[in-house]
Structure formats: C-alpha cells, structure tokens
C-alpha cells in the first residue's frame, strides 16, 4: 500500500515536471517567434503603426518623386548644353578646316593647269619671272599653287640669292629648272589668262627665248605646306 502511494507520488511529480517543461518551453518559443516577427514582419504590426508607416512611406515616396523630377530636369538641361556644345564644336571644327584650307595646311585636289618652265641655253628664268607667274595665276583665280611640289602659301617669298639661285620660303627651299608649277582653279580661265596674245605670260617668256609648257588637267593634287607658320610680332588688335 505504501509503495503504491510512493509510486503515485513519483508519477505525479514527474508529470508536473513534464508539464512545467512543456509550458516553459512553449512560452519561450512563443516569445522568440513574436520578438522576431515584431522586428522583421509587417504582419505583426498593429493597424496604427501600419498607418503611420504607410504615411511616412508615402511622404518619402513623394519626396523621392520630386527629387527624381528635379534630377530629370537637370539631366535635360545638361543634355541641351551638351548638344549646344557639340554644335558649336562642330562649327569650330568646320571653321578650322576652312582656315586650314585657306592657309594651305591641307592636301587639296581639283582641276587646274600644270606649267613647266625650263631654262634654255640662251636664257634662264629669274625669280622675278616666277613671282610674276604666281601673281598672274592668283589674278586668274588660282586657289592653290605649288612650285616643284612646294606649296605657295600667302606668306611665301621667292627671291634670287647672289644672282645665282632661286630660293623660296625664307631660303629653306632651293628651286631649280625645270620648274613645275601647279595651280588649282578654273582651268579655262587660267590658260586663257596665261596665253593672252603678246602680253600673256607664255608669249612674254617665249619672246625671251625661254621654254614654257602649259597643260590643263582635270585633277591635280597639291600637297600641304610642310613648314610651320609662326607669328612673332603680330598681335590681335583688340
């Protein structure tokens, strides 16, 4: 009888211990779960909290929208200025190309005439003759001229040194017979100007016993000026 009550007591205690274990562990699990969801899950929030959160998110969204708008406007502005810059740089480039063409800093091509001046035993070409020829060609509308492959730029000079040889471009290039002179321009006009009866360059030279050949060509290539153009004394007048 006594053993039975003892056994009952033990069973009771074990049962109670088991129940307290169950209860405490369940409570702990619940604590943990609720805590975690409070932190991370929107479902666990109360309605009021949700409302305030929605409101804050809404205002944040509106702010972000505004910022986006202003940023987009800025981007548009930048794009416009960039376009303008591109346009102006294009214009500048065009101008530069034109200037280079005018200065003789580019290889050019076009119709024109090729003259060959050859010294004879009786007479020799002087720098004066060549200058006159260049002048005549310019007068006849030549847009680019070269002598023996050397481009004649605006500042070109052709002089005789020591009465013996002809040099151009500040003495850097020596010219010798035969002189091959190329000129790009209206070829008909160029040849007619040169071939004028009596007063034309060809007749004048021939009358001085000099040999001159004039050849028209549909396509002449004239190379660019090889030197550099330097200004030392001139300054832009403001």
């Amino acid at each position: 009888m006594k053993t039975k009550t003892d056994k009952n007591k033990i069973v009771l205690r074990v049962t109670i211990a088991f129940i307290s274990t169950l209860l405490v562990s369940t409570i702990l699990i619940q604590f943990k779960s609720v805590d975690e969801y409070r932190k991370s899950n929107i479902e666990s929030l109360r309605e009021d909290e949700l409302k305030t959160q929605v409101a804050t998110y809404k205002s944040k969204y509106e702010e972000a929208q505004e910022q986006l708008q202003s940023n987009q406007n800025k981007i548009d502005e930048y794009k416009n200025t960039a376009d303008e810059n591109a346009k102006s740089s294009e214009l500048i480039e065009e101008e530069l190309a034109q200037s280079n063409d005018l200065l003789g800093l580019t290889d050019v091509k076009g119709e024109g005439v090729i003259l060959t001046l050859i010294d004879t035993d009786e007479n020799r070409y002087t720098s004066e003759n060549i200058r006159t020829l260049i002048n005549e060609l310019k007068y006849a509308g030549a847009e680019a001229i070269s002598i023996n492959g050397n481009r004649v730029i605006n500042l070109a000079d052709i002089v005789t040194i020591n009465d013996t040889f002809i040099v151009m471009n500040g003495g850097s290039i020596r010219l010798d017979s035969p002189y091959e002179i190329k000129a790009i321009g209206d070829r008909k006009y160029l040849t007619s100007t040169l071939n004028m009866k009596n007063s034309g360059f060809v007749d004048l030279m021939k009358s001085s016993n000099l040999e001159i050949l004039v050849k028209e060509s549909e396509s002449i290539t004239i190379n660019k000026y090889n030197g550099s153009i330097k200004n030392e004394y001139i300054k832009e007048d403001e």
Partner: protein, 122 residues
C-alpha cells in the same frame, strides 16, 4: 520535494525553448491562446491544491483539453471571421485572476496565523 521537480522541469523547458527554432507567425497566434489556456490550468491546479481538492487527472486533462479547445475555437473564429479567441482569453484570464485571488488569500491567512503565533509566543 515537488518544488524541485518543478524547478528542474522549468530549467529543462528553458533549454528546450532556446534550442527549438522559431515558428511561423500564423501558428504563433494559436500557440499564444494555448499558452493562456495552460497557464489558466496551472493556476487552477495551484488553487485546487490549496483547497485540498487537487486531482492530477483533472489537472492534466484540463491542461491539454483546454489548450486544444482554445486552439480549435481560435481556428473556427478565424474561419468565421469572428474573434472567438477574445472570448477564450476573457474566460481564461478571468479565471486566472480568480485563482490568483484564492492563492493570495491563502498565503495572507498563513502569514496572519504565523504572526499571531509569534505574538502569542511573545
């Protein structure tokens, strides 16, 4: 002696509770109501123990059946879109306060008797 078993059980529960991972939020609703129900049973058990009418069978059946019933009622309430779990909580918590009142009064009487004994001794 029984107290030691309870403490050991509680400590074991703490260990197990820390080891078991968290449960999904939708389930934790049911678990909460089950916890309230079982706490009610525990306080009821203590109160009946004080009244000397404690029966382990009543206690254990109350512990489990009440929890399961509470869970089922909550489930039903969710299906019906009626917050039945509120009714369950009101009943359980009301009973808990009742039982706590019984326990409180019992210990107050005990203290009174002790101090009376002391004064008579003096």
């Amino acid at each position: 002696m029984t107290l030691i078993y309870i403490i050991v059980g509680c400590l074991l529960g703490v260990g197990i509770g820390f080891l078991i991972p968290t449960i999904p939020y939708s389930v934790s609703n049911y678990l909460a109501i089950a916890i309230v129900a079982s706490l009610d049973s525990v306080f009821g058990g203590i109160a009946s123990n004080i009244k000397k009418v404690f029966d382990i069978k009543v206690f254990i059946s109350g512990f489990f059946v009440n929890s399961i019933l509470a869970i089922l009622l909550t489930y039903l309430g969710q299906k019906l879109n009626v917050d039945i779990y509120l009714a369950a909580i009101i009943v359980f918590v009301g009973r808990m306060f009742n039982n706590l009142g019984i326990i409180r009064r019992y210990y107050l009487e005990k203290i009174d008797i002790k101090s009376d004994n002391k004064t008579t001794k003096d």
